[in-house]
Symmetry: D3
Subunit: 205 residues, 6 copies
Amino acid sequence: MDYTTALSAFSAATLHEALGRYGNLPSAIKPIHPGMRVCGTAYTVSTMPRDNVLLHRAYAYAAPGQVIVASCSGFFEAGYWGDLMSLGAKTRGIAGLVIDGCVRDADDIEAMGFPVFSRGLCIRGTTNFGEGTLNEPVVMGEWVVNPGDYVVGDRDGVVVIPAARVEEAIEKAQARELREEWVRTQLREGKTSIQIYGWDKTYGY
Amino acid sequence: MDYTTALSAFSAATLHEALGRYGNLPSAIKPIHPGMRVCGTAYTVSTMPRDNVLLHRAYAYAAPGQVIVASCSGFFEAGYWGDLMSLGAKTRGIAGLVIDGCVRDADDIEAMGFPVFSRGLCIRGTTNFGEGTLNEPVVMGEWVVNPGDYVVGDRDGVVVIPAARVEEAIEKAQARELREEWVRTQLREGKTSIQIYGWDKTYGY
Amino acid sequence: MDYTTALSAFSAATLHEALGRYGNLPSAIKPIHPGMRVCGTAYTVSTMPRDNVLLHRAYAYAAPGQVIVASCSGFFEAGYWGDLMSLGAKTRGIAGLVIDGCVRDADDIEAMGFPVFSRGLCIRGTTNFGEGTLNEPVVMGEWVVNPGDYVVGDRDGVVVIPAARVEEAIEKAQARELREEWVRTQLREGKTSIQIYGWDKTYGY
Amino acid sequence: MDYTTALSAFSAATLHEALGRYGNLPSAIKPIHPGMRVCGTAYTVSTMPRDNVLLHRAYAYAAPGQVIVASCSGFFEAGYWGDLMSLGAKTRGIAGLVIDGCVRDADDIEAMGFPVFSRGLCIRGTTNFGEGTLNEPVVMGEWVVNPGDYVVGDRDGVVVIPAARVEEAIEKAQARELREEWVRTQLREGKTSIQIYGWDKTYGY
Amino acid sequence: MDYTTALSAFSAATLHEALGRYGNLPSAIKPIHPGMRVCGTAYTVSTMPRDNVLLHRAYAYAAPGQVIVASCSGFFEAGYWGDLMSLGAKTRGIAGLVIDGCVRDADDIEAMGFPVFSRGLCIRGTTNFGEGTLNEPVVMGEWVVNPGDYVVGDRDGVVVIPAARVEEAIEKAQARELREEWVRTQLREGKTSIQIYGWDKTYGY
Amino acid sequence: MDYTTALSAFSAATLHEALGRYGNLPSAIKPIHPGMRVCGTAYTVSTMPRDNVLLHRAYAYAAPGQVIVASCSGFFEAGYWGDLMSLGAKTRGIAGLVIDGCVRDADDIEAMGFPVFSRGLCIRGTTNFGEGTLNEPVVMGEWVVNPGDYVVGDRDGVVVIPAARVEEAIEKAQARELREEWVRTQLREGKTSIQIYGWDKTYGY
């Protein structure tokens, strides 16, 4: 089974915990519809503020199955991506977009089932000057996303997993889920987490 | 066909682009339900912070089909508008509310199908002092909304169209949609936007 | 009829107005699904930033029917609460969570029908150091929540009602609803609120 | 020696620590000149947003030596206080102003030596409607300021000390200063704080 | 006496009040040194985010005595202006800069005595694409600045005065200062403002 | 001449430009007194929110001449550093502190001449749990600071220079200063920057 399929079985939060609380992208980046999920390797972009030429180029250059991960110089209030770009990207097999900025045409994007994770929706149009970087490391909140890193997003948020740690992430996420299922059983029996984790000895019940 | 009907056929983003990236209201102003749309001429209001007398007066004075467009002195955290005012406004044929502040009673407003675009929901009550202006120009983010300007809102955001430019907006929006349909056809055939726009000559494929 | 049942009949906004515009918690605290409602007495928590030991302890110590009300030192960007804690709390009869911070596992929490009101969703994991306070007064925005105060939350927001004023809140909320129904009747007949409230004498129609 | 004189000998930070990290007002509230200090009992005010009638009333009603402590409904962008009010307050022996909002006429206020602690400077004028509260508890950030509590402010920020804990604050602040002087001596000799506090045993040097 | 000289005699706050609380620019725009003052007619600029070509053009095209007033698309975090541009502008007799964004080289600018009012200081460099507008109306916070309007800035903030209202502003500001001097005399005698304004009849002493 | 001395000759803005607009730390990080400057290699720290044990350890472990560069998990509102730590660090030859959070005891720190660059001042005390990292890469705004990178700070802000690019930075900064001096000469003669850069051919004079 390939890594993308394996990672898709886990939530972003579980993978974040599996790697020792690693890789949480800014929590303001959320799917434009809560049911959207995304998983794949990152094709990274860094744009000028309010300019989207590099996003047009990114979906043309990225490989099928990749996720466009874009930083926008900290300027969120523009519609960097819309229905046409979603159609172009989806047609080429791009797996989705994760952008630290806004997008537009949410209804059409949602209708075509192309997963977009953004700061929000904004109609404000963009320029076409094209300065910035393609497929180089980008900072997203507290973490660096390198080209080829895995990104997994769901309703709770988005996590980045370094390519070199993907097997570790999958193994530890599986272990975590087993342990959580065991906790779940005890919780259903009426035990509390402070009992299950043994914290009642420290704090009293 | 009247202008309101004609404008209703376009998205806010399309009209914004049609006029050369004009008239985007602050992107924090969104419909309280993503399915809401609004279109009509603006009856403008500028309120004191946390005071809503002028909003009561506005829906009584505005003409049927108009949209109340309200600035609240930059004080967002109050429930300036609720279910009773929505009922009163709807009964009088007001087309909707666009407010740079918060509202409350979202469930009831949604149930009666009165479109409200706001910064969000807030239960905090208002005062009744009544200072401010009615049907004078108001600043909304980067743009001025004049009485009688057209406003069009959907899930992506809200655009204001100067009354004198409404025919231009409709024509250019139609042209833009035709062009976009032509782009869409090519995207579906696997071309990318950098090819369609000829940018591949600048950037390489 | 007990107070909780009685309070549940009213919206948060109505109760806020009933007590003279009292007790609105920060409007950024919203249900993770708009259909969630919560009502009960507060078991208060104040956590260190990014630490959630006290939340584990809180749901173990609180009485069935109580609502956990948590301040997080003004540090919102962490997933202080998730599906396991929701399961544990729900199993013990806890009525819900109101937190001035973020949570995660929204899909699972929503599926189990445990009401959670938060600043938003965030996958970022927490620490286990455990400093802070349990069941002592906490500041939430403009108001103090004391242990045993009532909290009522819905899509519009959350209100806190001092324990000593709960009967007053219920009576005044009932009176307010009667008055609102009377206003509604007149609005449906085409009167405006400035006529109904007699403000037309001040402002002209 | 009276409490005000005794408290004046300590920094706001020292008093905050002395009471177990208690009473820090929002750190955005700073003196309009870094050399200003304030110390006295609080005469508390809660204003409507952008209204300053209650501040005029406050300095007329407060006793000489008191400090006006004002919350402004979370609306900071107004010049709630200026040179005339400073002159009036200073003439009546008011010890200073601590306001969770902005002020204006900074040069004149500084020239007359009246200590003002605010969110910043803003020329925007205020209204005269006068709703709000005088000398009732107000929330300032994380803490409640009760009438008669002591406030101490300097360049670093402002602390509130409950009236009932003022002697405790003074004693513990004195003890803290002695301990700090002892630490200072060792630091000057080249020891590090992890050695002085014994943390080197935990962490290694 | 010319208007600029006449306006220079008043504070920004006084002129704002003189025109009925008109024209306050965002209070985050402050002089880079508190002793700086600026007064003149506006040469307006609207830049792309992070681009400063239009500012280079603006000081070359503006007339001596004018003040460059610049909006930066809501993107503050760039050093749009520095010591070289200050030298060029000062040499050409430009009276100062008011910018809704950041600048750099504060020490050198201060040393040459060229007044700059900005959101703050930022070293981040700019691009040279040059899109935007020159000498067209720009929105600054709540108000529109038209080419040729007067701007007056001091430590408290910046006010814009419409060219057509400049005489009114001067007259009313003079009247206001006389009235304030009369209030000052009474305050020094121990009267309070609620007595001087007659509010004691409403509120009691 | 060593690199630190060489870098000290340039402003942070010049070095940022010299490396192609690289390395600007968040512009909210400023010296607590505008006259402070800092230059040295980074000893990096990442703290838990509101915890400062790692800062105590950092100045004990860092080499003389190094600058402590600290990220605080995005929680700014705490006094992570004060006069005692400044004394300890200065005694050991530490060159200064650059922190993405707040500090306290500004007067004492300024008096001892220890350069501190921070988000601001805050009296709020810290905890002593000690989780985090020492001398590992940290994200500061848009850039990664690696242990051993050079940081240079002045009134305008702070820049990080990768260790491997320090000679390039010095050479290009010197070239830039020569070019700027040549521009300055022409500006003093009355030429404008659009003439000097040849942009007048594009835009007209």
